[in-house]
């Protein structure tokens, strides 16, 4: 199922776009924002699985799951809702509440750590991403 995109009302602090992937699995969701983007918060519901899963995230438009080296790997403990909040700080001390993806934002979720692994979770996980302005 494709990623759904919801726009929040003007005035919401930090960003106005929520992405939702209702079946995050071994099939990559690619270039979900159509180019560069800024990720503020990721929430993944792994309560549906009794095993650790791994969210792989690429700063790339069309990664090959199991082959393309992920820029981020986030371990998802078994039976847990996971929240990841991101910040970057430049050399002047300016802090922003997001990490920048200069090329594109793509992701998949598999049962294996590292680059390899093309087996999806027993039950696909649900995922939400708050995109910063």
């Amino acid at each position: 199922m494709a990623v759904t995109r919801t726009s929040l009302p003007t005035g919401v602090a930090g960003g106005r776009t929520i992405l939702h992937d209702a079946d995050t699995d071994e099939t990559a969701e690619t270039d979900v924002m159509g180019g560069a983007t800024k990720v503020n918060i990721i929430v993944v519901d792994n309560t549906v699985n009794a095993a650790i899963e791994y969210l792989k995230i690429w700063d790339a438009k069309g990664p090959t799951v199991g082959t393309t080296a992920p820029d981020f790997i986030l371990e998802l403990p078994a039976s847990q809702v996971c929240i990841f909040e991101f910040e970057e700080e430049d050399s002047t001390g300016t802090v922003v509440e997001y990490v920048t993806f200069a090329t594109a934002l793509s992701w998949a979720c598999v049962t294996a750590a590292g680059t390899a692994g093309t087996t999806g979770p027993t039950t696909a996980v649900k995922m939400w991403v708050h995109i910063a302005d």
Binding site: Y54, D59, T68, A69, P70, D71, F72, I73, L74, E75, P77, Q80, V81, C82, I83, F84, E85, F86, E87, E88, E89, D90, S91, V99, T100, A102, A112, A113, G114, T115, A116, G117
Partner: protein, 123 residues
């Protein structure tokens, strides 16, 4: 340089594990056993290229071969923080080992040009 442990006094992590020269040399089993990770900090301001901090739920990983359980990319000249499920954290049941290299994914054994500062807040 070996890691140091800096005690904290709150319920969202009891200490920082700090590596002031994170590079391709593995810092193995930095918590002497299991750890729950609450925050990861990567200071890559010393480098004009991205660096990748790799965390292993293992006591003695082989850098470039063992699959990392967590990878945090820090862009060129940037400090990056990731807060991991605030108030709960993410459990590493076996051990917490780390290294920092210039390549994403599992592979890569090349250190950043300048050492990176890595801190992991754990309980």
């Amino acid at each position: 340089m070996a890691t140091t442990q800096i005690g904290l006094g709150n319920s969202i992590g009891t200490k920082w594990i700090e590596d002031l020269d994170a590079d391709a040399t593995s810092e193995a089993d930095t918590n002497s056993g299991a750890a729950t990770i609450h925050e990861v900090y990567v200071d890559n301001t010393g480098n004009t290229a991205a660096s990748f901090l790799k965390l292993y739920n293992a006591a003695a990983p082989t850098i470039g071969t063992t699959a990392p359980d967590i990878i945090i990319r820090s862009r060129a000249s940037i400090k990056t923080r990731v807060y991991m499920t605030p108030g709960l954290g993410h459990a590493f049941a076996t051990g917490l080992s780390m290294a920092c290299v210039t390549a994403a994914g599992t592979a890569g054994t090349t250190s950043p040009t300048s050492d990176v500062v890595a801190r992991v807040r754990v309980s």
